[in-house]
């Protein structure tokens, strides 16, 4: 039995590619109007709750300011990102990945157990008590997979006037197009924060083995 199913591994790397391109083309799009608002509408700087910096060329796709080209990249990879996320969610639900590896039992989530896991993390001990992932790891993956990534899809759709006409409930869900745009921006940075933490923790904990397992699949009995 492999440690990571083939579906999980393909999605993991395809998702990294899509999210990286979406993030960097998104920074280029952000440069077109660097103010964020709450509610349905907003266009004057004094209405904004946040003024965004201008992102430099080395961080944006393409590497010069082009709203048209950045939107091309963003829309193409939005399709790849959304459809691959949907397929991964369905597969992981059907093959028991979520139930087996992410859910855990109710008693695992007692405050004392969570506290013990936090103290273990502070000692840089990441070994799970049982199963594949420790508690904080399960929580982090669940937040990303079930909350942050779907939020990016839904807030992205809400910014589309064609989509708002087709599915008007999207606008109500987020309290307006400009609110959806603000949430889209915030969650994008939350995902970057997860990415940095994820990479740092892999580097601290058998980086070559963990990286190899996510490529080749690894063996389940090696995990303990």
């Amino acid at each position: 039995m492999k440690r990571h199913a083939i579906s999980t591994r393909i999605w993991h790397w395809l998702n990294l590619l899509s999210v990286a391109i979406l993030f960097m083309s998104g920074l280029n799009i952000s440069n077109a109007h660097r103010h964020l608002y709450w509610g349905q509408a907003g266009f004057q700087p004094h209405e904004a709750w946040f003024h965004v910096i201008r992102f430099p060329g080395w961080a944006t796709i393409p590497n010069y300011y082009s709203l048209a080209a950045a939107r091309d990249w963003h829309v193409v990879f939005a399709w790849i990102f959304s459809l691959s996320l949907l397929l991964f969610l369905i597969t992981a639900l059907l093959n028991g990945h979520f139930r087996r590896d992410l859910a855990g039992r109710r008693e695992d989530w007692r405050p004392s157990a969570i506290g013990a896991d936090v103290r273990k993390h502070l000692r840089l001990d990441f070994a799970p008590t049982e199963g594949k992932y420790n508690l904080l790891q399960k929580a982090a993956y669940a937040v990303v997979i079930f909350i942050l990534l779907p939020l990016m899809v839904l807030t992205g759709l809400t910014m589309s006037p064609g989509m708002d006409a087709a599915w008007p409930f999207l606008v109500d869900l987020f309290g307006g197009r400009q609110s959806a745009r603000s949430i889209h921006f915030i969650v994008a940075w939350a995902l970057l924060a997860f990415f940095v933490l994820h990479v740092v923790l892999v580097l601290l904990n058998k980086p070559l083995k963990n990286l190899g397992d996510m490529i080749g699949g690894g063996r389940l009995d090696e995990t303990a």
């Binding site: 109007h33 266009f43 590497n63 829309v75 006037p161 064609g162 006409a165 008007p168």
Partner: protein
């Protein structure tokens, strides 16, 4: 500082590579495919015709931003603006049975629709305004569409340098009940910055589709050979023709 340089170098490598790919022809085909997919999905989902949200008077933005060209600096236009556009004409021509040349008075005499909608700019901002004017479908009904007509092309009085502004849409949007030839914003004649005397409202798409300073509507069977062939001023400069995303 050193770590920052590594990050910047890695970023530049990715963005540089993507910039190269973005200039290839095959990536252009992929982009066109995604655009068709978005348009198809928007038309397929929801009850037909899908309608843009309409807001209440309380939601109207206190000031409606003008973007792109916000004035036309010619003596003729200035004189027309000052006198209320008595000589302005909106022509309807091309693949129609009865070409029209409508004055503002004739346009105001048609059945009117008033709608409060959200205007979404491709840059990311939004403004809410109340628009009044006849439905484009009413005008096209008077002209009578020939069966070969597939697109409506909107000609405008403004230009960027020598390049005239223009736009186009398919008949699904042209005949949509919320697609208007608007002559009023918030109950007043259109201000110059918002496209006086006439502008298009095409509510399920982004702001650059809402052509201002309208002079003519041409019914055509293909967008090839019109200006840059992209179907609009911004489309000829790389923006997507279907602007519902």
């Amino acid at each position: 500082m050193k770590r920052r340089n590594v990050l910047a170098g890695l970023g530049a490598l990715i963005t540089g590579g993507c910039t190269k790919i973005g200039q290839t022809e095959w990536f252009g085909d992929v982009v066109d495919g995604a655009e068709k997919l978005s348009r198809g999905a928007h038309r397929m989902l929801g009850a037909r015709p899908t309608m843009a949200r309409e807001f209440t008077v309380a939601d109207i933005s206190p000031y409606f931003r003008g973007n792109g060209n916000t004035e036309i600096d010619t003596d003729t236009y200035r004189a027309q603006l000052a006198s209320g556009f008595p000589d302005w004409r909106l022509e309807v021509r091309g693949l129609v049975d009865r070409p029209l040349s409508l004055s503002l008075e004739q346009i105001r005499a048609l059945p009117q629709r008033t709608q409060i909608t959200r205007h979404d700019c491709v840059e990311g901002w939004s403004a809410i305004g109340q628009w009044t004017g006849p439905r484009l479908s009413t005008i096209l009904g008077q002209a009578g569409l020939k069966p070969q007509a597939k697109f409506a092309v909107f000609r405008c009085a403004d230009s960027f340098g020598k390049a005239p502004y223009y736009e186009s849409c398919d008949l699904d949007d042209a005949l949509h009940p919320q697609t208007l030839i608007a002559h009023q914003l918030n109950g007043e004649p259109l201000p110059e910055r918002n496209g006086a005397p006439l502008r298009l409202r095409i509510e399920r798409q982004l702001g650059y589709k809402h052509a201002k300073y309208l002079t003519a509507i041409e019914l055509v069977d293909s967008l090839d050979g019109i200006e840059g062939g992209g179907g609009g001023y911004w489309e000829d400069r790389g923006y997507q023709w279907y602007a519902g995303v």
